[in-house]
């Protein structure tokens, strides 16, 4: 007992140098911190797009899938063999053909969510079933269409999120996008 009384008291750990270090590290890390993460979408000019495979099956017509984007909705072009096997439905003289995927509210789309993206993805998945090797899609947007609608169309045509494989990755539809210059009337 007598020995214990003579032991020196345990000193506190001196944390001040650690504090200094951490305080300097924090502004440095704040500078390099990234709070929004970025991604890119590839696209090319129509003339120099990714090469189209030359060997095509003779009995299958090549798919030139195009999506015409307007304020009324999205029109799928070049896939009539899948969408309308019996031929295109007749159009009343003097009227415009309605878009393949009209706006949810009918008439003119007011915002981004008014376009029926799920339906567009479903139709593109049907086309992909028929043309599994095709990966190109041509976008033909209207001049006044907002850029975000074009980006959303690229998202909808790139992958089918409702159809996930065993590894959790969604089914790839048409990842190579080419943006064409003019809109169809």
């Amino acid at each position: 007992m007598a020995i214990k009384r003579h032991l020196p008291e345990a000193e506190d750990l001196n944390l001040v140098p650690v504090m200094n270090l951490v305080t300097i590290l924090i502004p440095f890390l704040l500078m390099a911190a990234e709070f929004v993460s970025l991604a890119v979408i590839d696209s090319t000019l129509p003339a120099i797009g990714p090469p189209v495979p030359v060997e095509e099956e003779p009995d299958k017509k090549p798919l030139n899938l195009s999506l015409a984007l307007t304020h009324e909705g999205v029109t799928v072009l070049g896939a009539d063999a899948v969408l309308n096997p019996a031929g295109a439905p007749p159009v009343v003289e003097g009227e415009k053909r309605p878009p393949t995927v009209p706006c949810k509210s009918g008439g003119r789309c007011t915002n981004l969510e008014d376009y029926d993206w799920a339906e567009l993805t479903r139709i593109l998945a049907l086309i992909k079933d028929e043309y599994p090797d095709d990966e190109n899609v041509i976008l033909v947007p209207d001049s006044k269409l907002k850029y975000e609608v074009i980006v959303k169309t690229m998202d909808s045509s790139r992958e089918d999120k409702s159809n996930r494989g065993p590894d959790g990755s969604s089914r790839v539809l048409f990842p190579f996008v080419v943006i064409a210059g003019g809109a169809l009337n």
């Binding site: 506190d12 944390l15 001040v16 650690v18 504090m19 951490v22 305080t23 590290l25 924090i26 890390l29 704040l30 390099a32 911190a33 990234e34 709070f35 929004v36 993460s37 970025l38 991604a39 890119v40 979408i41 590839d42 696209s43 090319t44 000019l45 003339a47 120099i48 304020h71 947007p141 209207d142 001049s143 006044k144 269409l145 907002k146 850029y147 975000e148 074009i150 980006v151 959303k152 690229m154 998202d155 790139r158 992958e159 999120k161 943006i179 210059g181």
Partner: protein, 176 residues
């Protein structure tokens, strides 16, 4: 005097920094998690709001072409200002547009000159280094405001194409 001295405590109390250390350690971990060394930087503003997308491809270094609602910027240097025109379909609304006197047909003259300079500089650099890695591929990162009409983007893309930039990479915010 004697009374006052007696009341003062012998040692001044030490600052207890343990709790502050705890906090700093947590902040440190959080900041380390969001640490990134990305090549591409975005300066968001009222005039430049990128769209969100489910794309997952990471950005890579290339010529940075920013198309905000009021101006076009190449690699941090403003090239020209955009104007607004009344929207015929929505009376009272305005759309951004490239001023008519800056255009030659579809091509935007000032932007064409600037991009051509960039392309030639990149080619000269590629020739000097001689390696395949630095070859000029005509890549351009396009940061475009989500509200811009496609007409502006089409003119910008056409101009970039004329100036030998044919590989577009649209920068978007990653979701998920």
């Amino acid at each position: 005097m004697a009374l006052k001295k007696a009341r003062r405590p012998k040692d001044s109390a030490g600052l207890n920094i343990t709790s502050m250390m705890d906090m700093m350690t947590i902040i440190l971990v959080f900041l380390l998690k969001s640490y990134s060394t990305s090549d591409v930087s975005v300066a968001p503003s009222d005039m430049l709001q990128l769209p969100s997308s489910s794309a997952q491809k990471p950005p890579e270094l290339a010529v940075n072409l920013v198309v905000a609602r009021n101006q076009i910027v190449v690699d941090g240097v403003p090239v020209l200002n955009l104007t607004t025109i009344p929207d015929e379909d929505n009376p009272g609304q305005y759309l951004a547009a490239v001023p008519e006197d800056e255009k030659k047909g579809q091509s935007i003259d000032k932007l064409y000159q600037r991009l051509l300079d960039k392309a030639e500089a990149a080619k000269a650099l590629a020739e000097q280094s001689g390696s395949e890695e630095h070859a000029f591929k005509g890549r351009v990162l396009i940061q475009c405001d989500k509200e811009l009409p496609f007409a502006v983007l089409r003119e910008v893309m056409y101009t970039a194409g004329q100036a030998q930039f044919g590989e577009f990479k649209f920068v978007v915010y990653k979701t998920e």
